[in-house]
Symmetry: C2
Subunit: 166 residues, 2 copies
DNA sequence: CTCAGTGCAAACCGTTTGCAGAACG
DNA sequence: CGTTCTGCAAACGGTTTGCACTGAG
């Protein structure tokens, strides 16, 4: 990733988006976008800052946040909150558009999976409650295969559950 | 809610939990717990602070946070993050234990719904990827019936999507 | 040349923590 | 009475914002 693909198709789409909005195409915006488009991971802002630094780019955190905002609005990048206390960003191109996430509670790794069943759930909810679904987020927390094979086990939060002792 | 049910069954369970852990049962803990057990809403810390204030109780925010931590650990209360920038807490007793949430993106209201389908999804994921599911969170964002009837419509984020124009 | 973007640092805001004094057991 | 809790206020950490300066168009 030492040579960010500033001329990739994703960057081209982002630049078109900026021009459509009458916003300047700047070096910083393209460099931040290239860092996200050049990875298929779920990146934190610190991850992105690290990529930029290792590319020799010195870009303020505020600009990273402001550019991520544009990328999310352009729909080229998705924002996620896995409950870690900060957000993660993922390139939406080069991957199946609709997927949910498996988050390992031990090592923090994130896998993706598809859920064709969710469309039926949304339809049922709309029918039963009159709610109009627009988007959804399903996160399954658990132990990834690697952690299980490493012998990690799940201990129920360390505290007894008094509910069933009523 | 002006007279918190300090002698309710939920409080009794919480007190038993504290005693089991060798922790003191204090007035503050019981009052915070009563505020949560006395509501079936999804309360923010500010909501809880308001309930306590209207009950004439003057309890520091730090104590509210510390008590909520205990309530969550006791499994009597569930913690939720609907992406609003703060957490919400819900009484787990007096409601069906397993449910997911519908969050209205316009008025912020939260409804609950059950998803028997999720067990099958988890089983499939475990089979296909070796991941071991422990818990999940499904949130469907959209427009509640009331907002729809009030004429609120969904406009797709205000910005065009260049993806399909590739 | 003009207006928007950038970088810095300070502000923000929900949450956590340190510590002196109060309360539980 | 010793140990834990409480309240206050300060610290924290990710994110946002104000403002002088730089750079795109």
């Amino acid at each position: 990733m030492s040579a960010p693909a500033l001329d990739s198709g994703s960057i081209r789409l982002f630049n078109r988006f900026l021009r459509d909005k009458g916003m300047p195409v700047t070096h910083q915006r393209n460099v931040v976008a290239a860092a996200v488009f050049g990875s298929d991971a779920h990146l934190s802002v610190d991850d992105i800052e690290g990529i930029l630094r290792s590319d020799g780019e010195r870009i303020g955190k505020a600009t990273i946040y402001r550019t991520l905002d544009l990328l999310v609005k352009s729909r080229l990048v998705a924002e996620h909150d896995f409950g870690e206390g900060f957000k993660r960003y993922e390139n939406r191109l080069m991957r199946q558009s609709v997927h949910q996430h498996l988050v390992c509670t031990h090592c923090g790794s994130v896998e993706e999976f598809e859920t064709p069943e969710l469309a039926a759930i949304e339809a049922r909810v709309a029918r039963e409650s009159g709610f109009r679904p627009i988007r959804h987020r399903l996160v399954i927390y658990g132990l990834c295969r690697e952690c299980q094979e490493a012998g990690v086990t799940f201990e129920p939060e360390g505290l007894a559950c008094p509910i069933e002792i009523v």
